[in-house]
Amino acid sequence: MTTVARRARGATSGAGRLAAALLSPTFIVLGLVVGYPLVAALRESVFREGTDLDESGFVVEGSRFVGLDNYTAIFAGESAARFWNAFGNTTLFTVITVALEVVIGVAMALVMHHAIRWRGVVRAGILVPWAVPTAVSALLWRWIFQADGVANAVIGQQVLWTTEGWQAKFAVILADVWKTAPFVGLLVLAGLQIIPNDVYEAARVDGASPWRQFWRITLPLVKPALLVAVLFRVLDALRMFDLPFVLIGSRKESVETLSMVAFDEASSLRFGPAAAYATILFVYVAVTALVFVRLLGADVIGAARERARK
């Protein structure tokens, strides 16, 4: 073995130690903030708290190990119907809101990108909904959708938006799209700004129509940014809670999401089943994210690093 190679390896292992030392605070923090709650939630989901009363009417304290009972209970009887309804709502909201937000968000990004006059005002205006806290925007929409609200005045009919039915789903979707399309717009705008202008110039010289330019140049080049935006939105939408909770209310079948079911169980002091619901939601979110990254190749971190190495 040559000295050079040995020296190189020594340097690498020294650098490795240094890297490990420098990274360890991050890993410790991640372990505490991510690892511990995850493990604790999994542990909690296999226990159940006592709800039985003793003779003098006191709750018999202490939780007992129940194995996977909390999970199997979710898929049995009445709670199965509730679970699949919530699962369906969660999925439906995610698919529809993200699809609408992508279309509207891209349109917003193009407007923000091409606005020549009032550029600052246009951008600020579009971003305002994203800046409003979700619970507050849900309250605003509740006023709009109440029986004597603006929505009914505009359509000239009395629709009871917050009652069970398709109209409640519609209200949630509308409010969510209003709020988060600007987020997609913002990320896409960042993608648009790195497309060099000469590509468009070349296309114009070749006589490509604006429509063709959009499909053949803008969209492919903005795709990495768009996919990241969609991934974030999908993960966010799967955890949707505050908007339907404040806008429509709790325990409304039409809009109940998985997060709402987990919350509802926890506030009834059934932490074991609540943890089980939350774990299932976590698995659903994680699997979706994985599939998304693998199939659509959302360039989150991996591909960028790969390119840098080459």
Binding site: L30, V33, V34, Y36, P37, L38, A40, A41, R43, E44, F47, E49, T51, L53, S56, G57, F58, V59, E61, G62, S63, Q146, A147, D148, Q158, L160, T162, T163, E164, V228, L231, F232, L235, R239, G249, S250, R251, K252, A262, F263, A266, S267, S268, L269, F271, A274, A275, A278, L281, F282, V285, A286, A289, L290, V293, V300, I301
Partner: protein, 428 residues
């Protein structure tokens, strides 16, 4: 990073719950022995919902001025009742001594007592005979006193006196009379809605459903705590609301009404009759233009099927946390807060219903709050909501059933049968 962040977020909220639960599950049986002495003097805290009038602080200041070594500090919890309960429960589960005195909604007594989160109070040290007896019942669990009633509440039938007078009618005592009065008034006022209560799917629906059942002579649970909602009386009560919606006596949009939506409708002159708490009296009587009905309304006891109805009991009781320090001071403070002078000052400042019977007969107070005699009648004939350790599940079951019947999703007898079997499961 996206995945990890999501994982962190998804579990963060849960983590809190988990931490609390794992701390709560271990440990000893905790707390004071029933009937044990309440000992220790010194600083205490008082956990309560928002002090909207500022009168709580005024009374606390008054107490603090004469108790230099036993200062009381108010801890304001969020405005919504659910959030208040959640904070108190979380504190109890970690056995925190942060809260000494708890301002409990009347429906939480059983849950807090059965979990030993609050201590039993010496009933002999309070002159309970002078309190409104239905209010005292809400502070008991299995016949033992765990809290002291401070605020009471009963439903009233607000009605448009001007319109009834014009039609030559008296306030209705039965639902049939209410319907007749409604038709008579509609002849000249076709646009007016007849009746509304609180029918959105939340605690208010439980209140209104219980009232309908009780006012028809039925019961939700009998005196031994067994559910009895599959009775013909209970069906008659629920049907009164269901047919009200079907026949348009209750406006369709009332299914979205909580207290405030209904109040706005009543104040805008859209309703002839409105089932509401006493707090609406002052607001609907304001002459600054916010109310169209100032001076045009009055209150009557709630109507029923064959005679006067019976209200659902509301209100708040003060209890002492099992994990708080200085319980002797806490007990004295509760005595001070439930005294006649404190309750009088509360009524004057907040118009919240007191729990001492004598204040309802006080000529001076009646002059200022003309509804007091009606309210007393309402509270004395009021029925509590089911006293259940798992009250949250009970009220949700009631809301599911009532909402399904009111929206026509289920016939009322099916809804009640389902409710009966659910309550049997929950209350066994």
């Amino acid at each position: 990073m996206g995945v990890r962040t999501t994982a962190a977020r998804a579990t963060a909220a849960l983590g809190v719950a988990v931490l609390l639960a794992s701390c709560g599950s271990g440990g000893d049986q905790g707390g004071e022995q029933p009937g044990g002495a309440l000992e220790g003097r010194g600083e205490v805290t008082f956990a309560t919902g928002k002090d909207t009038s500022g009168n709580m602080q005024k009374l606390v200041d008054e107490w603090n001025a004469s108790h230099a070594n036993e200062q009381v500090r108010i801890i304001e919890l969020p405005e919504s009742a659910d959030a208040q309960r959640q904070q108190m429960v979380q504190n109890a589960q970690v056995k925190s001594d942060a809260y000494t005195i708890l301002n409990l909604d009347v429906v939480w007594t059983a849950e807090f007592a059965a979990n030993r989160w609050v201590v039993e109070l010496p009933a002999s040290q309070f002159d309970l005979d002078k309190f409104l007896q239905p209010a005292v019942k809400t502070a008991q669990y299995r016949d033992k006193l765990y809290a002291v009633p401070v605020y009471s509440d009963g439903g009233l039938l607000y009605y448009r006196k001007d319109l009834l007078d014009a039609a030559g009618l008296k306030p209705p005592k039965t639902w049939a009379e209410l319907t007749t009065a409604c038709q008579a008034v509609k002849a000249t006022q076709p646009a007016i809605g007849c009746y509304a209560g609180q029918f959105e799917k939340y605690e208010g629906l439980t209140v209104n459903f219980d009232e309908a059942v009780h006012s028809a002579g039925g019961d939700v649970v009998d005196s031994s705590g067994k559910p009895v909602v599959d009775s013909p009386e209970a069906k008659a009560g629920l049907d009164a609301l269901v047919t009200g919606f079907q026949q348009g006596i209750i406006p369709q949009k009332a299914i979205t009404y909580k207290e405030e939506e209904g109040r706005r409708a009543f104040q805008a002159g859209e309703l002839l009759f409105h089932r509401q708490w006493p707090y609406q009296w002052n607001l609907a009587g304001k002459t600054d233009g916010s109310s169209q009905v100032a001076g045009k309304f009055d209150v009557a006891p709630l109507p029923g099927l064959n005679g006067p109805g019976s209200s659902t009991l509301g209100g708040h009781n003060f209890a002492i946390s099992a994990f708080g320090k200085n319980k002797a001071t806490a007990l004295d403070f509760i005595k001070f807060f439930t005294s006649e002078s404190a309750q009088r000052s509360n009524l004057l400042a907040t118009s919240q219903a007191p729990t001492l019977a004598s204040l309802y007969d006080d000529a001076e107070l009646i002059k200022q709050f003309p509804y007091l005699p009606t309210l007393k009648e309402s509270i004395l004939s009021a029925k509590p909501r089911p006293q259940a350790v798992r009250y949250g599940d009970v009220t949700q079951a009631i809301q599911e059933a009532a909402y399904a019947a009111l929206t026509g999703e289920k016939p009322s007898d099916v809804a009640l049968k389902d409710l009966q079997s659910k309550l049997q499961e929950l209350l066994k």
